[in-house]
């Protein structure tokens, strides 16, 4: 029997050729501890009950699946449904993962969490979970992102988190991740590192995917209830890839559902001007796992660029690399300009400001919906709301 695509990772964290554990030995202890706790939690109905209680009563799940009527009409093809993760408490899908990991943190008896953040959504979601469960929280954020996502910095501080500005390297998400890992090197015994995406060493890519899979499971049920069938196409933006992994994973064994991940094409598809690791990168090791990365020929991490702070990352989750090589998911990219256009279009046609990350998914929808028939159906993961981006969008449009 051929194993199904969903039967990954293996016991040592491999998604086909990708994934694994590539970190200093110091961290292995914490990764093994996390794996053991996750196994115990998974087998414990009380953990699931508590997790689902918070997702329902605090986050507001299930999130809605909403027909974008005017966008559908404007593009003149397939029906477009929006999975409204932007309506979650704190405004993005990130909260699903931080609630789950904060519960694991409590079970491990650790009192402090650390997190990296790019757009600030994961930082806000971590600060929120820390407030809910009474944990200390330090968030590492690149200085460049502190500038362009100031509102989120303020929100984190209001909730009692310490925001640590990272001035090394490119001063963005990659450097924030380095600093979080360095902190963890010295604090593993009492601190849990809540990685915000499906990246990093095993078991993080698996745990984050599992905690985000509510998105895809709900979408499946909602499609069947509303349209009586599964969607023809599912689209999500991909930076590290957590919203896409959570949306795609429950569909990967449904061969009839086309899955499309949209990366940040930035200014141009030239190394240093984009953040499209899957569509323009090569296999390599970054932040603890083997996946597609943007590097030079010496394995040094390349500079990346995206108008969206959340996509401005030179790597991507190893499961996406596996899905790419297996041909199960199609990966494409959209430019900064296309994403900005899509941002404005969704605002004007649907009364929704999407996150700039999410706007990349809409930019691709604009290219494909018109070529599909009216009885077909597209679901877009509306992974986050765009209030945080208003200042940056104003700057870019001026």
């Amino acid at each position: 029997m051929t194993p199904t695509l969903s039967a990954v990772p293996d016991a040592t964290g491999h998604f086909g050729d990708y994934g694994g554990v590539f970190v200093p030995e110091t961290l292995v202890f914490a990764l093994e501890q996390l794996q053991a706790e996750y196994d115990r939690a998974n087998a414990d109905p009380q953990f699931h009950a508590e997790f689902e209680y918070y997702l329902k009563e605090f986050v507001g799940r299930p999130s809605r699946l909403y027909l974008a009527r005017r966008l559908t009409e404007a593009l003149g093809g397939a029906k477009i449904y929006l999975k409204r993760e932007d309506l979650n408490h704190t405004g993005a899908h990130k909260i699903n993962n931080t609630i789950g990991q904060a519960l694991l943190c409590k079970r491990m008896g650790k009192q402090r969490i650390i997190a990296e953040t790019g757009a600030g959504q994961h930082g806000v979601a971590s600060a929120t979970a820390a407030a809910v469960f009474g944990l200390r929280c330090d968030v590492f954020m690149g200085a460049e992102d502190v500038r362009r996502q100031n509102l989120n910095v303020f929100r984190m501080r209001l909730m009692g988190a310490r925001v640590i500005e990272v001035a090394s390297g490119s001063k963005t998400l990659k450097d924030a991740t380095n600093e979080a890992m360095r902190d963890w090197m010295g604090s593993v015994e009492h601190t849990h590192y809540i990685i915000g995406s499906v990246v990093g060493p095993h078991p993080f890519p698996m745990i984050v995917r599992d905690f985000q899979s509510f998105i895809g499971r709900e979408t499946r049920e909602q499609c069947l209830a509303i349209e009586g069938k599964l969607p023809d196409v599912v689209v999500a933006c991909v930076g590290g890839g957590s919203n896409a992994a959570g949306m795609f994973y429950p569909f990967v064994d449904d061969a009839g559902v086309k899955l499309i991940g949209v990366e940040a094409g930035g200014r141009a598809l030239e190394l240093g001007h984009h953040a499209a690791a899957l569509t323009a990168g090569r296999p390599g090791v970054l932040h603890g796992s083997l996946s597609y990365v943007l590097q030079d020929d010496d394995g040094q991490t390349a500079d990346v660029h995206s108008c969206s702070a959340g996509l401005d990352y030179p790597g991507v989750g190893p499961e996406h690399a596996f899905w790419k090589d297996s041909g199960r998911v199609e990966y494409v990219n959209c430019s900064d300009a296309e994403a900005l256009e899509a941002f404005k279009q969704l605002a004007q046609l649907e009364g929704i400001l999407p996150a700039l990350e999410t706007a990349h998914a809409f930019a691709h929808i604009a290219k494909i919906a018109g070529q599909m028939s009216r009885d077909q159906m597209i679901v877009v993961n509306l992974s986050g709301r765009g209030d945080k981006d208003c200042q940056e969008v104003a700057r870019l449009l001026s």
Binding site: V21, F22, T26, F29, R182, V285, Q300
Partner: protein, 265 residues
């Protein structure tokens, strides 16, 4: 199996002396100074660890990070480090250890990296972000090229893993003095002695201690428990203090510091 690295540490052990392993950042502060310094410290060193600059070194503190970033910003590539080491090798007989991120080795790729490392005169490879089980196959390849392997053990490493790591380490086991990143510290943690003792009870492979060692009293403390001491950030700090001086002046300042560290009885 006998090798230049194993022999050198065994010789130090035999003369009841703590092996001294200074660390240099490859190509830092510039290639000529790096080569001069390597030549100047080799006579007092039992082995020299040479770090390949990496853009995202997560086990390194601010001192080594800054040295790596500076070197990369000057356009120094892996092949330039190989060339510089080959140049120093004409004179240096001391065993040399390449400390290099798996990100670099994977992309280079491994076979080509090992070929280059061996050709320019390295004796061993230390990949700090490659623990077992991922290390297993890579270590075999390294050993089959005739190079030694050095792996890290952390204070948090379980006894079962310590054994596994010792089995993969043909050069020595690099015991991390602290749960944390590289950088100078005032004192070494009190639990270090028990940790090293436990490590030594599990293996015959030499155990060298690194991270945070910067002062002669640290050397004394480590001499009582381990086979060798690795000193990194403190050396880079010396180089920074003498920034702008001639290669010979910087090399001599570092050599003086190394003599102070090794004159401890």
């Amino acid at each position: 199996m006998s090798s230049r690295l194993a022999d050198s540490i065994a010789a130090a052990r035999k003369s009841r002396k703590l092996a001294f392993l200074p660390f240099l950042a490859g190509g830092y502060p510039d290639v000529p100074t790096f080569v001069e310094t390597l030549k100047a410290i080799a006579p007092v060193a039992d082995a020299v660890e040479i770090g390949f600059p990496f853009s995202d070194p997560i086990a390194d503190g601010p001192t080594i990070q800054a040295a790596f970033a500076d070197t990369l910003s000057r356009g120094i590539k892996v092949k330039d480090i190989f060339t510089a080491v080959a140049e120093a090798r004409k004179q240096v007989k001391t065993p040399l250890i390449a400390m290099v991120s798996y990100s670099i080795v994977f992309r280079y790729p491994l076979s080509k990296f090992l070929e280059g490392a061996k050709a320019c005169g390295f004796d061993a490879i230390l990949i700090p972000d490659l623990p077992p089980p991922e290390a297993q196959a890579v270590c075999q390849t390294i050993n089959s090229t005739g190079l030694d392997t050095v792996l890290l053990v952390a204070p948090t490493t379980s006894p079962a893993r310590r054994r596994q790591i010792a089995d993969l380490s043909t050069g020595f086991v690099y015991y991390l003095s602290v749960t944390g990143i590289t950088g100078e510290r005032e004192t070494l943690p009190p639990e270090l002695a028990d940790g090293v003792k436990m490590m030594k009870s599990l293996t015959q492979v030499p155990v060298c201690v690194g991270f945070g060692i910067s002062k002669p009293p640290h050397m004394q403390q480590v001499a009582a428990i381990a086979d060798g001491a690795i000193v990194g950030s403190a050396i880079i700090k010396r180089m920074q203090q003498h920034a702008g001086e001639s290669p010979a002046a910087i090399a001599s300042a570092v050599a003086t510091y190394c003599q102070e560290m090794t004159s401890v009885k």
